[in-house]
Symmetry: C2
C-alpha cells in the first residue's frame, strides 16, 4: 500500500466516499488509488470551481463532507471562489491538493507556489502530508475537522513522494488496522441563561423576529421553531441567503429578509426584538454611500439564542420548556395550488410557473439574482422542496452546487435557476451533469446583461451610467446562444419565451432522467 492508497482507504473509512476531481501529473498515484478503491466514487470536473462547488452541494444535502482533488496551487486557486461560498454556507469539505515532491521543490519548478499561503485565508485547516506512514492520520483529522458543526474547510497538501512511497517503509508507521472511528458532528449546548432571556423577550409579546439559519431552517429544528412561533406570536425569518431551507406545503414557513437595503429596513422596522439562531443580525450585502450597513431599526434589540456551533434543536426544546409550550403545534404552510400561468415572462409569471411546476421533494438551487428575486414569496405553498442559496456571494456557485446536490440525491430533481451572467463563470458543470446523467434542470434567465449591476449602479449613487459604462454591464454583444452552449457539452435544451412554455419545459424536464437546460428568453 502506498501513501495515496492509504489516503483513499482512510477517506472511505471515515465516510468520505466521493471525490470531485480535476487531476494533473503530480496526482497520478492518487488517481490510481481512487480508481483502485471500489468504495470511492470519482467524478471528473473540467474546471476546479466545479469540483469545489459540487462538494458544497453534496454537503448541503448530505450534511457530510465530500473530497476534491486539485492540481497544485493554481488548481486550488481555481477552486477558491466556491470554497469561499462553501465556507460561508458552513459546508465541510476535504480538499486534496497535489504538490511537488520535497526533493523537487527546492528547484522552484514552474508550477511551484505557496499552497499553504493560498489555502489559509479560506480554509479552516491546512496540513502538508509529510509521509506515507502518517497520511492516514492526516486524512482522518481532515475528515474530523470537515465534519465539525458548523462544517469546516480542510485542505490536505499531498506531495508526490508522500503519494508514491510505500506505507511502512520506515519504522514510524502506526498499526494499519488502528484507524479512528468516523467522526460525528458534535453540537454544543446553548447556554441556559440565554434561553431564559429569550423566553422573557418572547413572553413580553413585543414584536419579535426570530432569524433562523443553517441547521435551524430544516428538519426537526425548524418544526420546533414553528412551535415557538405558534406559542408566542413571534415571526420566523431568514437572511436573504440561507444554506438550505426546507419549505413549501406542510413545512413551517419562514419569511425572507429582502436583499435591497430599503426593502430590508422596511421589513425589519416594526420588530422591537431580533432573536438570532446560528446567525448574526442582518447586515447589508454591500456598503452604499448613503445607506446603513446594519438593517435593523434604531432601538431594536438583538438577542443571540443559538451560536454557530450550538444545537438549535436542543435550544428550541429548552425554549419550549421555558415557555411552557412543549405541546404547542406549529403553524404549517398550507398547500397553494397555483394554476400554470400563460402569457409574457416576468418575475411574477416566472414565480407562478415555478410554483405550479416544482415536483414534490425537488431541490431548487437559486442564483437568479434579479429575475428570481420575486420567486420565493410566490412559491411558499408549492410542493415541499429544498431551497439552496449562495451564502458567500461569489458568482458561479449554482451550476456546481446543483451538480453536487444531484449526486447526493439521485432520486430528486434539481432545478438550478441561474442568470446568464452568473452561469458563465462555471459553465463547465454542464459537462459533468451530462457525463453522470444527473437529474438537473438548469434554467438560464437570459436577460443579456449583468442586470443586478444596473440596479446597483443607481443604488451606489454613481449617477446614470454612460454608454461606455453601460457597455460593461450589458453582455448582449454577442448574445450567448444557450442552446448551442448546452449542445456543446451534451445537455439537451429548449428555449422558451412565454410563461406557459416555461412551465411546460420544467414539467417535461422531470419526465426523463438526466440533465436539461431551459433558456428563458427575457
Amino acid at each position: 500500500m502506498n501513501g495515496a492508497e492509504s489516503l483513499v482507504a482512510t477517506l472511505v473509512d471515515q465516510g468520505v466516499d466521493i471525490c470531485f476531481a480535476n487531476p494533473g501529473t503530480s496526482e497520478m498515484h492518487f488517481l490510481a488509488a481512487l480508481g483502485g478503491n471500489p468504495k470511492m466514487r470519482s467524478v471528473l470536473c473540467l474546471f476546479e470551481g466545479v469540483a469545489t462547488g459540487a462538494a458544497d452541494g453534496w454537503y448541503r444535502m448530505k450534511e457530510k463532507p465530500a473530497s476534491t482533488l486539485l492540481h497544485l496551487g493554481p488548481g486550488l486557486a481555481n477552486g477558491l471562489a466556491n470554497i469561499h461560498n462553501a465556507k460561508r454556507a458552513s459546508s465541510g469539505m476535504v480538499n486534496v491538493v497535489g504538490e511537488h515532491s520535497v526533493s523537487h521543490l527546492k528547484y522552484d519548478p514552474p508550477l511551484t507556489s505557496d499552497i499553504e499561503g493560498l489555502a489559509r485565508p479560506l480554509c479552516h485547516w491546512v496540513r502538508r502530508a509529510e509521509s506515507s506512514d502518517t497520511i492516514a492520520w492526516d486524512a482522518a483529522q481532515a475528515v474530523a475537522k470537515a465534519s465539525e458543526h458548523p462544517g469546516q474547510i480542510a485542505t490536505l497538501i499531498l506531495p508526490g513522494d508522500t503519494s508514491w512511497q510505500q506505507v511502512g517503509a520506515t519504522s514510524a508507521a502506526p498499526e494499519p488496522s488502528f484507524t479512528p472511528a468516523p467522526p460525528a458532528a458534535k453540537r454544543k449546548t446553548p447556554s441556559a441563561e440565554r434561553i431564559e432571556h429569550v423566553a422573557r423577550v418572547l413572553r413580553s409579546g413585543e414584536p419579535t423576529l426570530i432569524v433562523l439559519a443553517n441547521r435551524a431552517t430544516r428538519g426537526v429544528a425548524l418544526e420546533k421553531a414553528g412551535r415557538v412561533a405558534a406559542a408566542t406570536g413571534a415571526r420566523l425569518g431568514s437572511q436573504f441567503f440561507t444554506a438550505r431551507i426546507e419549505r413549501g406545503a406542510g413545512r413551517v414557513p419562514i419569511s425572507r429578509i429582502p436583499y435591497a437595503v430599503a426593502q430590508a429596513t422596511a421589513f425589519l422596522k416594526d420588530f422591537k426584538h431580533i432573536v438570532t439562531v446560528e446567525t448574526k443580525e442582518p447586515v447589508a450585502f454591500f456598503a452604499y454611500p448613503d445607506k446603513p450597513s446594519l438593517l435593523k431599526a434604531e432601538g431594536t434589540l438583538v438577542h443571540p439564542l443559538v451560536e454557530d456551533d450550538e444545537d438549535s434543536e436542543l435550544a428550541f426544546d429548552m425554549l419550549l420548556q421555558a415557555l411552557g409550550a412543549a405541546n404547542q403545534a406549529p403553524l404549517l404552510q398550507p398547500r397553494i395550488e397555483t394554476p400554470a400561468p400563460t402569457g409574457a415572462l416576468n418575475p411574477m409569471s416566472i414565480a407562478h410557473a415555478l410554483a405550479a411546476a416544482l415536483p414534490e421533494h425537488c431541490i431548487v438551487v437559486d442564483e437568479s439574482l434579479t429575475t428570481g428575486r420575486e420567486s420565493m414569496g410566490l412559491t411558499m405553498g408549492a410542493q415541499p422542496h429544498d431551497l439552496i442559496n449562495n451564502m458567500g456571494g461569489s458568482i458561479g456557485y449554482a451550476t456546481p452546487v446543483a451538480t453536487g446536490a444531484a449526486l447526493a440525491c439521485p432520486d430528486r430533481r434539481v432545478f438550478c435557476m441561474v442568470g446568464d451572467g452568473s452561469a458563465m463563470y462555471t459553465i463547465q458543470s454542464l459537462w459533468t451533469q451530462a457525463r453522470e446523467n444527473l437529474n438537473v434542470t438548469t434554467i438560464i434567465f437570459a436577460n443579456n446583461s449583468y442586470a443586478i449591476l444596473k440596479a446597483e449602479y443607481a443604488n451606489m449613487g454613481a449617477g446614470a451610467p454612460s454608454e461606455r459604462a453601460l457597455s460593461m454591464i450589458d453582455i448582449d454583444r454577442p448574445r450567448i446562444d444557450w442552446l448551442a452552449m448546452a449542445k456543446s457539452m451534451g445537455v439537451p435544451s429548449v428555449a422558451v419565451q412565454t410563461a406557459e412554455d416555461f412551465h411546460k419545459a420544467m414539467v417535461n424536464s422531470t419526465r426523463e432522467s438526466g440533465p436539461c437546460l431551459i433558456e428563458v428568453r427575457l
Copy 2:
C-alpha cells in the same frame, strides 16, 4: 474628482490604458470612472481568469502592464491561476480588486475575505488604497512596480469608500497636478567578472549551451546572442517554456530543451557547460519516482551570465567585446518552404500545416501540450513569428493570453493552439474575442482526453491505468461539440479531419478580420 476617477486618471497618465474587467457591485464608481475616461479602454471578460490571462498576453507583446478589475477576494481568486502564469512569465500587471468600505467590513458581510492574504502568495506588491486623496500615489507605485524588469504583479485593493469619496475632502490631499513621471523599466548591469568568466568558458571551445529566456529571446538581445554563438560555436537554447520567442526565417534560431525528462537529459548530455541568461539551469517540470530533477549531465558546469533583473543586451555587448567579436555576424535561420501537407492528421502533418500556413509576423500562443509537442522543430523556417508559451504550467492560459495579445497587436493574426482539455478552463475567452472582433484563430486539438496524463501515468510508474482510472483521464463522455461551443459565444468555426483541410482552414482564417475556431479532430 472622486477616488475612482483619480485612480483611472493616474493609470492612464502612467501609460496603463487598458483594463480587463469583470466588475461587481462594489466597483460601480470605478466602472463609471473607466467609462468616463476616453483614454482608457475597457474590455469586459465573463470570467476573471480571462481578465488576468489577457493582461499577461498584453504584457508579453507590449512589454508594458495592463490593468484588471476584479470583484473582491473571490474575484481575485478566480484570476490567480493566470496571475501565477503571468508571474512565472515575468509579465507585469496592475490588478484593481474591489473591496467593501472600511465601515462595512466590521460586520463581516458575505463577500468578505482576507484579500491581502489571497494576493500575497502570487503578487509582488499588495496595497490597500486607504483614501481617495492618496490613491493617485498608490496607483503610480503600482504601475512603477509592475513596470520593473522583470515585470511584477501589483495588486491594489480598492475599498468602496475610497472609490466614491471626493479627492481633496481632507487636507492630506497632495497637489493634483503633481504626478510622478511614467516609469521606465531599469535593467541592472551584469557583473564584469561574470562576463569575463563566461568569455573564458566560451573561448575554451568546450561544448556549451547558452540558455536564453525573457528579453534575451527577442529583438536586439537575441541578435547579439546569435553573434556570440556564431563567434564561439556555442549553441543557443531555450527552456521548454519561454515567455516570448521571436523565431522563424531570418531570426537567430534557438533549440528548445525537450519536455520529457529522458529526452531533455539526452539533449543536454554532451554539453560541458550551460550558460544561463535571465533563467536558471534546466529542471524537470514534475518530479518522478525514478527520474532526476536536474536535467544536466553529471560534471556539466552551470555559469550564470545574466540574472533575471539584468540587461541581456548589454551583457552580450560586453561579452562580444571580451571575445573580440564585436563585428561578428549572427547565424540566421534560412526560410524553409514547407509544402502544404495532405492526408491524415498527426503531429508531423500538423506541424507541416502550421509551417506552411503561418503568415509573416503572426503570433502563436501554444498550449497544445501533447499534440503540438513536435510542432516547434518543424516550424523553425516558417515565416517570422512570435511564439508564446505557458511559463507557469497552470492550464487554461492560452485562450486568455491570445485575447490580450490580439488586443496588443491588432494588425497581427494570433494562432492559439490549445488542447481540448486545456481549452475548457477559460473557454469564456471566446466571448471577449467575438465582442472585440479580435484576430484570433483558436485551434482546438480535440483528442477527447487529457492525453498528457496518459503519458504521465506511465512516467510516474503508476502502472497501467485501470479502467476506472482511465475514465478520469478520458474526456470523451460526452465529447465536447466544439462547433456548438464556438457558436454559443459568437465565434465562427470549422472542423477538420485531414491535414489539407487544417492548412486550408488556417489560411482562410487570416482572410477576414475577427475570431474563428478550428476543431482539429484527432
